[in-house]
């Protein structure tokens, strides 16, 4: 298969997986807060594992540019949050009905997905198997994340079917950025360690600034730590074959 098509296919699978996030909402109209916390912790663990694999791959290629790319990734998410005024946005204000809140949730979900797109594109440029591994890790992460996103949407009166479609749509930037990153890095291979580092830095910052602080408020720290580390361990286990 043409490499760009592979990137398209697997990033689309990852984005499409977000549609499965509504599954718990079919059975229960309103999810307990603890479930949302577990979903967030699962998403955080997948992301930490993916960030670990990307960071090691980036540093293995060129340590200095990998680390510089990672610092850029941290800076990118930090400044987009600051510009959008979403640094302290809560994703569990289920009773908050204002339009601004809705836009902000949509905005950070898309920005979040964009960073993951860079991750998939850069990983595909390392090797096909590493790219597929990373896309699948992000796909699992997307399911958990979409559960949180859809819970907010349905509590605002959106139908479950539409929430599934919106979850996929919010992740569309992932497909786009995966292809753009893959094309750029394939054309200029010296940028690969930068791209891997950038993705790792952005993912680490997203875990620390969005996912973890959320889940500590939703469930106890012991369950957060356990779910996160088990998810991360599984991703680390499978990351080995790729790099």
């Amino acid at each position: 298969m043409d490499p760009t098509l592979t990137v398209l296919l697997y990033s689309a699978v990852a984005a499409g997986a977000a549609g499965l996030g509504v599954a718990p909402l079919i059975f229960r109209e309103r999810l307990p807060l603890a479930w949302i916390g577990w979903a967030n912790a699962l998403a955080a663990g997948c992301m930490l594992g993916a960030a670990y694999a990307l960071m090691v791959a980036g540093l293995d290629r060129m340590a200095l540019s990998g680390a510089a790319g990672a610092a850029l990734g941290v800076g990118f998410v930090f400044f987009t949050h600051a510009a959008a005024r979403t640094e302290d946005l809560d994703l569990n204000r289920l009773d908050e009905a204002s339009a601004t809140y809705g836009y902000q949730v949509l905005l950070i979900t898309s920005l979040h997905a964009a960073s993951e797109g860079v991750a998939i594109g850069a990983a595909m440029a390392v090797s096909r198997s590493f790219g597929i591994f990373l896309a699948l890790a992000i796909a699992v992460h997307n399911v958990a994340e979409a559960t949180v996103f859809s819970t907010i949407l349905t509590s605002r009166g959106v139908r479950v079917r539409d929430a599934a479609a919106l979850s996929v749509a919010a992740n569309a930037s992932q497909v786009l950025l995966a292809i753009v990153t893959f094309s750029i890095v394939s054309a200029a291979p010296s940028l690969l360690s930068w791209a891997l580092g950038f993705a790792a830095g952005a993912l680490i910052y997203l875990v620390m600034a969005e996912l973890l602080p959320e889940c500590y408020r939703q469930v106890g720290r012991r369950s957060v730590a356990l779910v996160t580390i088990v998810a991360m361990g599984i991703v680390v286990l499978f990351s080995n074959g790729g790099t």
Partner: protein, 244 residues
């Protein structure tokens, strides 16, 4: 194996343990201890421990991914058990009591236990490439300094004097020389255990960060500075280890 060689390995490893104390020096210049400073120090300690764990995982998975992850899960169980044990008792650390003391006790315990695995890694490295002994010693010694920084970042803002922080940091690294010697003598047997040990150390540290350090940091400071400090120290720590 000759006796002088064993003494040399022990001596080198002891030097690396002493280097850990150097990491607490910056705290001689820190005076203000507001809750926010404690939170930022926690974020820095989290970044250092996560960066160190990522390095250990990368090292361990080169020997065996399954073994490393199995070791990591044992590390998680160890911290869970230690956490439960400490919670049952009236925790005290120096003059500090209660939740703060529990956290301090846990960090010192986890860092000390993780040194056992690092000691094995040093010993095995000596066995493999005896010619590089001095270089490896310097590398490990320098690598220990940020670990001292991590311990100082947890102890000092809660009122432990710098000298005591340095003492606890060196204490936490003492298992390194103790484990380095047998690992050096029985390289083959210890190499088999190495991925489990490295995984154990990484799992214990990551879990410690997730269950104690980060939640406390988020309670006392805003997310953006905590996340920025932790992410950037993590990256710096990984780069630092790469160049040694």
């Amino acid at each position: 194996m000759s006796v002088p060689a064993v003494i040399a390995v022990f001596g080198y490893a002891l030097l690396t343990a002493l280097a850990t104390g150097l990491g607490t020096l910056p705290f001689a210049f820190v005076r203000t201890v507001s809750p926010r400073v404690v939170a930022y120090a926690n974020a820095v300690a989290s970044g250092l421990m996560l960066g160190a764990s990522f390095g250990l995982l990368a090292e361990g998975t080169r020997f065996g991914a399954w073994q490393t992850v199995a070791g990591a899960m044992c590390g998680v169980l160890f911290v869970l058990a230690a956490d439960r044990l400490v919670q049952g008792h009236e925790a005290g650390f120096g003059t500090v009591r209660g939740a703060g003391a529990r956290r301090m006790l846990m960090v010192v315990t986890v860092m000390t236990v993780h040194s056992f695995s690092e000691g094995v890694a040093v010993g095995v490295a000596f066995g493999g490439t005896a010619a590089l002994a001095l270089m490896i010693t310097v590398a490990i010694a320098v690598h220990n300094i940020p670990e001292g920084l991590a311990i100082g970042a947890v102890l000092h803002p809660r009122g432990v004097p710098v000298v005591r922080c340095a003492g606890w940091s060196i204490f936490s690294s003492l298992p390194q020389p103790l484990m380095a010697v047998p690992a050096f003598l029985f390289v083959e047997q210890f190499s088999a255990a190495l991925p489990y040990g490295l995984g154990f150390a990484a799992g214990a540290m990551v879990f410690m960060v997730l269950i104690e350090l980060l939640p406390e940091a988020y309670e006392q400071a805003r997310r953006a500075p905590v996340a920025t400090l932790a992410s950037l120290t993590l990256i710096a720590m990984m780069l630092f280890q790469r160049y040694l």
